[in-house]
């Protein structure tokens, strides 16, 4: 009796002295999550779950959002998706954090005349927008207003923006930030294959026996694609071609540290060896390609000696590479920014396409000339942004195409421009010259990411009116805006993305945008209404309705996806790749193109396209003896960091301040110590950065990640002559100690 009273008392006393349970322990309790989840934190146990595509890179992982009372509380990767198989990179894991930041734009704002901004109502904002834009057009012509869009909003929004501006508002010039990353691949494919069509599916990573990665630091830039390579059971050769010993190069079986921008000579030299050794598929060439003979003649000039002179790769190594490719049964070539962001990127991409074609490594599992895309919906932008292509991959210059679009959308064909507008760099030049007086920037941060920053900064000032529509009110570009329109971000709106392997996937609204921020879709709808063309877009009521219009626009095109019924079908099937025309029989979820050897040119053949290498736009000199390389710093940073820096966890996973990778030999001769702040300068600007001594970058080459605002003070504004993509990856700089007084 007494013991029954003493025991609990005793336990209570002991627990004061030594406590094993309590409120802090409970904080971290886990419980089965259900919804196909393992254990999750009890405090965030979901009452529902839904899957959607990540809003960062073009890998297009599916993330399972944990919902509590219909609001997102947590997320983890979706296991049942053919892209990421239950994995995500840290950005995907932290996709919800950027939504909660204090720096979100919640209300429309205009300059208050005192150096700051003041909030206004949507009505005032929209009136101001239309008044100023129309006024500018009246005074300087319809084409004096332009827009710069993005690869990170859903396809439905891109299409609405493109149609609204070009058909409704009479704009001619508009481009997207996809120009900065993918334009080269687009043009290369169009010229070689007849349509912008990355031919692969991610399963090819697992089926290839020789994987060649050119200018791609996949371990950092596309970690989940690297995951697919890790799942490859054939013990493949992984060949990395990159001037730096990147994380990916560390995991490669062969690494060719070619000198920057010697790619064209290198790959022509490689082709020459393959051709002269007879390691080509003559049957395939004869049946499916044009212009091989002229190509064969062209590459004969690119001897091993020339390759060694230009790229630093000796004869034996070049032959090893050729032999590896020759011995491969399923060789795949993959490339991304190292190729795309070059002054002759299109021809380099095509040199890879050429090798794939002539060795018959295309159309079969584990093969291909495969461009890896950068942004989550760059693929959507390429097809439906209405910038370089008329909606749906059509041509502005074709009267038939214009009529087709007019018929499907019900928009008068006179409203559809019959020529292309300017590319990004031409828009910037036009602003500089006074041709373009007003600019509308949507979801991109040009003031950080555009090349040759000092000139761009001055150019922006020449505008009469700059509108920035963004999630955040203090991006470098928003800080220059006359009018800020607050937009909802990923997770706060509906729509679809298209990933790097042409897979269409859904994004959903699982959180509420702050303040009065609205989905870009509805901002566009409102602008249409205020502009007086609401009627033109009557049928474009919701993203899902617009999807139906896009289906019709795609019909008959290589990207035909009219066989997809609706969003529900996409959701249930785990994303659907195009083409998926009506009556599509092949329901396998991992499909590739060109398995029948038919390309998109009129004669169904692919073309061999080649050209002599161009002179380097800004070669190194005595005054500027170092080559500046740029690229991705970590997988925790996304581009200009407007989103990723908002996550405390991601913030811990990258270096806070700008740094420069420099070879220890160079550092030693300049008496530069590790972490010392040094000056890096080009003809255009100066940057101070901390020195990181590492042998992973070759002597006389330095590397600075693109995520730090100052980087573009150094870069040189050269552009590929076919794709007009900026060449971020090469300019001449010098490095010096900052003298201590």
């Amino acid at each position: 009796m007494i013991s029954s009273k003493i025991k609990p008392l005793f336990n209570a006393l002991t627990s004061i002295l030594h406590q094993k349970q309590g409120k802090y322990t409970s904080e971290l309790l886990r419980s089965p999550g259900e919804f196909g989840l393992g254990q999750v934190p009890l405090k965030w146990k979901p009452t529902g779950a839904t899957n959607m595509i990540c809003g960062f890179c073009a890998t297009g992982c599916s993330l399972k959002v944990h919902l509590k009372d219909k609001q997102a509380v947590n997320l983890s990767p979706n296991i049942d998706y053919p892209v990421n198989l239950g994995m995500a990179c840290p950005k995907g894991w932290e996709a919800l954090s950027p939504l909660k930041s204090d720096e979100r734009a919640g209300f429309p704002m205009i300059k208050d005349g005192k150096g700051g901004y003041k909030e206004i109502s949507w009505h005032q904002a929209l009136e101001r927008f239309t008044d100023k834009m129309k006024d500018t057009q009246k005074r300087h012509g319809k084409e004096s207003v332009a827009f710069l869009s993005t690869g990170q909003i859903p396809t439905e929004e891109m299409a609405l923006l493109g149609a609204l501006t070009k058909f409704g508002m009479g704009l001619l010039h508009g481009d997207g930030n996809t120009r900065q990353c993918m334009a080269t691949a687009v043009v290369a494919y169009k010229q070689s294959f007849g349509f912008d069509a990355p031919p692969y599916t991610y399963k090819d990573f697992e089926e290839s026996d020789v994987i060649v990665l050119v200018g791609s630091n996949m371990c950092i830039a596309h970690p989940i694609m690297w995951e697919r390579i890790c799942k490859n059971p054939h013990n493949p050769e992984i060949i990395v071609i990159d001037p730096r010993k990147t994380e990916t190069a560390m995991s490669a079986t062969q690494h060719y540290m070619i000198d920057p921008k010697s790619d064209l000579v290198f790959f022509y030299g490689l082709a020459r060896i393959l051709i002269n050794n007879g390691n080509i598929n003559e049957e395939y060439i004869a049946e499916h390609c044009n212009d091989f003979e002229t190509f064969k003649e062209h590459v004969q000039d690119y001897t091993e000696e020339m390759v060694f002179e230009k790229s630093g790769i000796p004869k034996e190594s070049l032959h090893t590479l050729a032999d590896t490719i020759a011995a491969g049964k399923r060789v795949s070539f993959w490339w991304t920014m190292g190729v795309n962001q070059s002054h002759e990127g299109v021809r380099v991409a095509q040199s890879l396409i050429n090798i794939a074609l002539m060795t018959g490594n295309i159309g079969r599992p584990g093969t291909g000339a495969n461009s890896i895309t950068g942004q989550c919906n760059a693929m959507g932008s390429r097809l439906f942004s209405n910038t370089t292509n008329l909606l749906g991959g059509h041509s502005f210059e074709s009267a038939d195409d214009r009529k087709k679009i007019a018929d499907i959308t019900g928009i008068a064909v006179e409203n559809i421009p019959d020529k292309n507008g300017y590319a990004y760099d031409q828009i910037v030049d036009a602003i500089d010259k006074g041709e373009i007086k007003a600019l509308w920037v949507i979801a991109t941060n040009s003031a950080h990411s555009w090349i040759h920053h000092n000139k761009f900064k001055d150019t922006l000032k020449k505008l009469d009116f700059l509108v920035v529509q963004d999630m955040y009110q203090n991006t470098a570009t928003a800080k220059e805006a006359d009018l800020i329109l607050p937009a909802a971000g990923w997770g706060e709106k509906d729509g679809t993305f298209i990933n790097s392997e042409r897979r269409i996937g859904p994004i959903k609204k699982i959180a509420k945008a702050p303040g009065q921020a609205m989905a870009d879709f509805f901002i566009f709808k409102l602008i249409a209404h205020y502009w007086g063309v609401g009627e033109m877009f009557k049928e474009w009521e919701t993203p899902e309705k617009v999807f139906q219009i896009l289906k019709k626009l795609s019909r008959g095109q290589p990207c035909d996806f009219s066989g997809i019924t609706d969003y529900k079908m996409i959701d249930e099937q785990g994303g659907i790749q195009w083409p998926y025309a009506e009556g599509e029989n092949d329901t396998s979820n991992e499909r590739r193109l060109f398995s029948d050897g038919n390309f998109y040119h009129k004669d169904n053949k692919a073309k061999f396209i080649f050209e002599s290498p161009k002179k380097l736009p800004e070669p190194c000199s005595v005054e500027y003896p170092y080559t500046l390389l740029t690229g991705r710093g970590t997988s925790a940073q996304w581009h200009t960091q407007t989103r990723t820096k908002q996550s405390d966890v991601l913030h811990k996973l990258y270096p806070e301040n700008i740094y420069v990778e420099i070879n220890p030999e160079n550092a030693r001769s300049l008496h530069i110590k590790p972490y010392e702040k040094i000056r890096v300068f080009s003809k255009r600007g100066t940057v101070e950065a901390q020195a990181l001594l590492t042998p992973t970058v070759k002597p006389h080459q330095i590397f600075i990640p693109m995520h730090y605002k100052d980087i573009n003070k150094l870069t040189f504004p050269s552009f590929d002559s076919y794709s007009r993509q900026p060449s971020y990856k090469y300019c001449a700089v010098n490095v010096e100690k900052i003298e201590q007084i």
């Binding site: 002295l17 406590q19 349970q21 309590g22 802090y24 322990t25 904080e27 971290l28 886990r30 919804f35 196909g36 393992g38 254990q39 009890l42 529902g48 779950a49 839904t50 899957n51 919902l67 219909k70 997320l75 983890s76 990767p77 296991i79 049942d80 994995m87 840290p90 894991w93 932290e94 371990c219 950092i220 690297w226 995951e227 890790c230 010993k245 994380e247 990916t248 560390m250 995991s251 959903k508 609204k509 699982i510 969003y567 959701d571 249930e572 970590t634 925790a636 966890v649 991601l650 996973l653 270096p655 301040n657 110590k673 590790p674 972490y675 990181l692 590492t694 042998p695 992973t696 070759k698």
Partner: protein, 535 residues
Amino acid sequence: MTAVELFSQHHEEMKTHDSQSNFYRNLIPLELPKEGEQYSFEVDLSACTGCKACVTACHSLNGLDENETWRQVGLLQGGTSEEPIQQTVTTACHHCLEPGCMQGCPTKAFEKDVITGIVRHLDDQCIGCQYCILKCPYDVPQYNKSKGIVRKCDMCSDRLAEGEAPACVQSCPNDAIKIAIVNQSKIAMINSVQKLLPETPTDEDTSPTTQYIRKEALPTNALPADFFSSKPKDPHIPLVLGLILTQLSVGVYIGEWMSTSSVFNPYLSAFALICALAAIAASTMHLGRPLYAFRAVLGFKTSWLSREILAFGGFAFFASLLTASHIMIDSEKLFGKTLPFIDKITPYLDFIQFMAIGTGLVGVLCSVMIYHDTKKSLWNFYWTGPKFLLTTAILGTSTYLLISSNAAFYFETSIEMIRTMSSNLLSTIIVLTALKLFYDASLFLSLKDKVFSIEKRSSLMIIKELKKPAIVRVVSSLLGGIVLPIIFISLATLTEHLHIFALLSFILLIIGEFSERYLFFRGIVTPNMPGAVVT
């Protein structure tokens, strides 16, 4: 139906099945460890490419606070221009065989599971003293300011118990992290002959169980990316105060004992007692959860912190008794009243004094051992012992001079006596201060070494990032402990201003010692798991 409702209904069917298990099935052991075995992390460095998904997965799947991470990813760089190497390294808790955290915890807030070997932190038992962070050679426990406790990786023990893989294991796209079963004596032997990785701590002490596997050996010149970037650590100001004041207090009581005169004892003891109590208050303020401070004696079997608390607890008791005795014995002089039971006290006075000094000295030595026991070479007995003991001597002497000269001046008693003693006291201060300055400065001999030793790294940090406090430390102690005393001794005219000089000297010495202790905490450099690039 909203889109959200529509889509989440579909997944109701998947309620109980954890689909991820297909992917991690062969990354966790199939059975429990046997006797002499335990779970450990096994990291395949050849597979780790530094994507850092493991850090974010641990964060999200364990419901950590916004800024809290239990796993970290660092970088090793090395090789030559012809064969450069970079290697990312992912690390959480090593679930050591002899966890430093567990051994040092004063409240027994850690336990090592008998079967799995997982070292788990008992969040509700924690008082937030953060000693475990100093005791862990790898800085694994993380202090959570808002809660006032530390938290750390527990190898997702609840998940493992249900056959689910820890968050980091589940989330690595390259399968670089596994849970393996290791033989504990084998691990102990491995740790006695090799380190985990380049520049990691000597591992025999805690015997970490994590295994790092790599296809090829790392180059011999591989260094952590943060090797050349030392950042000053937390100054732990409450601990600085606590140490300085306890050492001052003990010094004063020793001074009393050594002195031929007991005239000033009431004043000295009172001042010393106030300092001792202030020290205890300051140290308690260092705790995240000071209300539970009473738990801190539980760990005395293994923790020098518990022992120090017990010793200083005893010291506070005996010092109070001693002070009370001194005051009561001189009550006639002080208050004009003679207390009746003085005769009862006086026989025990020697004993009380012995106990006070004894517990005080033991306390100071425990303080030294607290830091020696962290196995950080710059905090070992040979650095810490002289520092703490010389503080005791210097501040004890300076306080003795301060209190006795000012008591003499203001209460007009025994002025001549203190003036006679003053030159001895001042000479003592000069010698001790010079000794300590030279001893501390010997660290800077390492600056001439080519090798980037721990000593050199700390010296560089002190002359660069910690330049200001370093200058304060040297100048204050030099002025207060050497220049001022020499001036005073040389100029007979100053004799009558002894009490002012004593005060000036004391203030400067306090500042000097405080700065020394501040640099002791801020300037610590230790080998650790490889960190990331830090700018």
